[in-house]
């Protein structure tokens, strides 16, 4: 596996020393419910019983108050508001998108936490407050995976007010 040393007479200057950790991941009750719902095209959040904030994706407990969320879920819209964005010009191994592309922090309608995703839009159009909507895979390809949402795209709605998302910047 000593690459870059193809020529048998070249000194070996570099070796590959990959480390691979094989986990068997258990999603737990709350994330499993979230994933089963997304297989039906539904986006589930959960409401904190202390302050009423809606966390998305749903999880077992409030990271701020340490209380369990129980069984109550909140179904969220797949529309939201771009809170911040970044234009990516450097490739990553696991992201098969053509460069440059746009990543967004999107605040889904009804949620109080942001989701990081990608936006299919012209670079010159993206802006804070822009209204966007999820573009899903064809229904027959849905699985218990967040990859059911391919990306977001702009929708024809007036920009959200700065006050509506400023606390998430």
């Amino acid at each position: 596996m000593s690459d870059a040393n193809e020529a048998a007479n070249e000194p070996i200057a570099v070796i590959r020393t990959p480390i691979s950790l094989d986990y068997h991941y258990s999603a737990g009750q709350s994330a499993s419910r979230f994933l089963r719902a997304i297989a039906q095209g539904k986006l589930l959040g959960q409401k904190c019983p202390v302050d009423g904030r809606v966390y998305f994706p749903s999880r077992g407990a409030c990271p701020q108050h340490g209380v369990t969320f129980g069984d109550e879920v909140v179904e969220l819209s797949d529309k939201g508001t771009v809170v911040t964005f970044s234009i990516v010009r450097v490739p990553s191994e696991n992201i098969p998108l053509e460069l440059p592309y746009i990543t967004i922090n999107v605040l889904l309608d009804g949620a109080d936490t942001i989701l990081i995703h990608v936006l299919d839009a012209k670079l010159e159009d993206v802006r804070m407050g822009m209204r966007v909507q999820a573009v899903w895979k064809p229904k027959e390809e849905w699985t218990t995976s967040t990859a059911n949402i391919l990306y977001f795209r702009p929708i024809d709605e007036p920009d959200a007010s700065y006050d509506s998302y400023k606390e998430h910047i």
């Binding site: 070996i12 070796i15 020393t17 480390i19 691979s20 369990t68």
Partner: protein, 147 residues
């Protein structure tokens, strides 16, 4: 509390760090020599030879660069038997990890002894390198076997 427990979803999750190491002026010749089925050490100012070579003297911190070839045979100074090898360990059958002091070296280094059976292992035993048919300049180019 959740009265409606469902079976939690599970999935394989592989985390990989695809490191490449730049070898530098001492380890590059060491690995290059392995490809030629030779083992190099580095000589300290007092004449002692360290295998594998290090770039700096562990006592004085002087930088070292005098590489010398040592034998690919030596003596087991300590060992531990691996009865049930795990995936990603060097051999898929029981083997020993041993500290081996090669002839011409003053330090022992940790490597595999393919001894077949724990009963064939003994501190002080002689071992020799068994080289791969095709060497690539990796430490896995050889294992030790009883000499």
């Amino acid at each position: 509390m959740s009265p409606t427990l469902e079976k939690a979803l599970t999935a394989p999750h592989k985390l990989e760090y695809t490191y490449k190491r730049s070898l530098g002026p001492v380890l590059s010749p060491f690995f290059t020599a392995l490809r030629d089925r030779r083992i190099l050490g580095v000589k300290r100012r007092d004449g002692r030879v360290m295998v594998p070579p290090k770039e700096y003297d562990p006592d004085t911190s002087e930088s070292l660069d005098e590489l010398v070839e040592v034998s690919d045979e030596g003596v087991v100074t300590s060992w531990s038997w691996v009865a049930t090898p795990r995936r990603q360990q060097p051999l898929d059958r029981p083997f020993a990890y041993a500290l081996v002091k090669l002839d011409g070296a003053d330090t022992a280094f940790l490597h595999v002894v393919d001894a077949g059976d724990e009963g064939n292992m003994e501190t002080g035993m002689r071992v020799k390198a068994r080289w791969a048919d095709e060497t690539t300049g990796m430490i896995t180019d050889f294992v030790f076997v009883p000499a």
